[in-house]
Homo-oligomer: 200 residues x 3
């Protein structure tokens, strides 16, 4: 199994996990838990593919991910209780930053290969990175966290997407750019989080 595949699965699990926690904190039932987890994990990529008009969707090709989230939702009540003892908040932030990095570069790469202009491609990267969380918050009847929390989040994704676009311009081998920019986004997110930086 390739490294990118492993990180990809990790990113989806992280997205689903944040959906589990949010849905449980809203007292949702098992259907709600599955739906919110699914939306959080696949919402960004699905919106990107709809905007780019690309089918079949990622989770249609890989139905094993949907099944995985389904099984996790069924056992989520005890799992979340156990995980809360094991998983510290710091670990969640790290995993979430990893997910942001990976989803974002996957988004910008997909947009470029679909022939989008540069600025739009960078927006597609950010959408892929953050929209799962936005949909999760809308379904849970809250103003999306990423839009009101003043900590840099979408902006880290935006910077990393442009770094990728620049690297492509200079002819760097795509796999290297993808890895480097995912790492850049994750690092930016963690660095600004650790220093508690705020936006205006």
């Amino acid at each position: 199994m390739s490294l990118i595949k492993i990180i990809e699965i990790l990113a989806i699990l992280v997205g689903a996990f944040s959906g589990f926690v949010e849905a449980r904190s809203k007292q949702m039932d098992v259907v709600g838990v599955f739906t919110v987890a699914f939306i959080t994990a696949f919402g960004g990529g699905t919106l990107r593919d709809i905007l780019l008009d690309q089918r079949p969707l990622f989770w249609v090709i890989h139905q094993e991910y949907a099944i995985l989230i389904f099984v996790l939702a069924l056992i989520s009540a005890p799992v979340i209780k156990t995980l809360r003892y094991i998983v510290s908040e710091r670990l969640i932030v790290v995993a979430d930053a990893l997910g942001l990095g990976l989803f974002s570069v996957a988004g910008v790469a997909a947009a470029i290969s679909a022939g989008m202009p540069l600025f739009i491609a960078s927006m597609m990267g950010v959408i892929t990175g953050i929209f799962g969380g936005v949909l999760r918050d809308i379904v849970c009847n809250e103003i999306p966290m990423v839009l009101r929390d003043r900590r840099p989040y979408a902006i880290c994704s935006f910077v990393g997407c442009w770094a990728y676009l620049l690297m492509q311009k200079f002819g760097i081998y795509p796999d290297y750019s993808l890895g480097a920019c995912a790492l850049l986004i994750t690092t930016l997110r963690l660095a600004t989080w650790a220093r508690d930086m705020r936006l205006g």
Copy 2:
């Protein structure tokens, strides 16, 4: 007029009616009443068709349904008042369960004929069955009922969709499977509702 056509119109009317009631209870004006009724009646099927990339949409082919809801919205204020005297809560639940059954099997059948894998097809069935109500609640600024109410609803649809997939596997004539599974979903919903069963 075929039986399926009659049930179909009934399902749309039921969806629209629940939209009328919700929108009026939120003090919306006539535009809001039409919009919420329309979203509730066609939201599930529209999302399914967008995810499957199928056009034209159901309500584009049959614009008479859209016109019907438009006319009903115009006269909804007195209609709802009158209907509230005639229609008991029990009748609404029965009609709604019918709608859930019919929309779900229509969704899973459409997904299969679009070549979706089995688990995804079952999800498309559930989405078609429940998403109208989810959108209605989001527009009305509430956490979707189906995600927090602990009564079985989406799960009845899920079971019925798998029953349909199994029947197709065993080569049963599609029209029989459709009818049987729509009936199964409706019965499951009514039985669990009557016994006041709850999910974890």
Copy 3:
């Protein structure tokens, strides 16, 4: 630069501006301000194009509009403060009515040229005209203003769209119809607003 191009840019600016104001009043950060402004300006046209299955999207072809909103979001804090001194509420209502008129006729024209039936085309016009504001309010966690405010808004758009469809039926030159109906919608909105008319 043609007249239609100038009004188009004005309409987008007006949409973005109402997004800026709403996002700032919700204490959103700069990412939230950009996102809400973008959604308000392009949400209606994007939903129409997804429903009609037309690509590339308007803001993908004209990425300069997306960049413009991005730059405005970056400088929005001082801009909004300054504009509040200059811009009276009346001016906002006038500009917004202009936007409603233009977006609506653009929507109905696009739907007709995509071969939609008449009633659906009129709905597509209304969707294009109002949906940006609906999405803005959903993201900001409010019941969409257009659905609960009893002042005529969507209805002005609806009347104007039908006026356009009638004019096309009588073979009037499209550019004249577009201009006349945009003007009609704007005038209707302003007249009903000035007289403080209410819907039932």
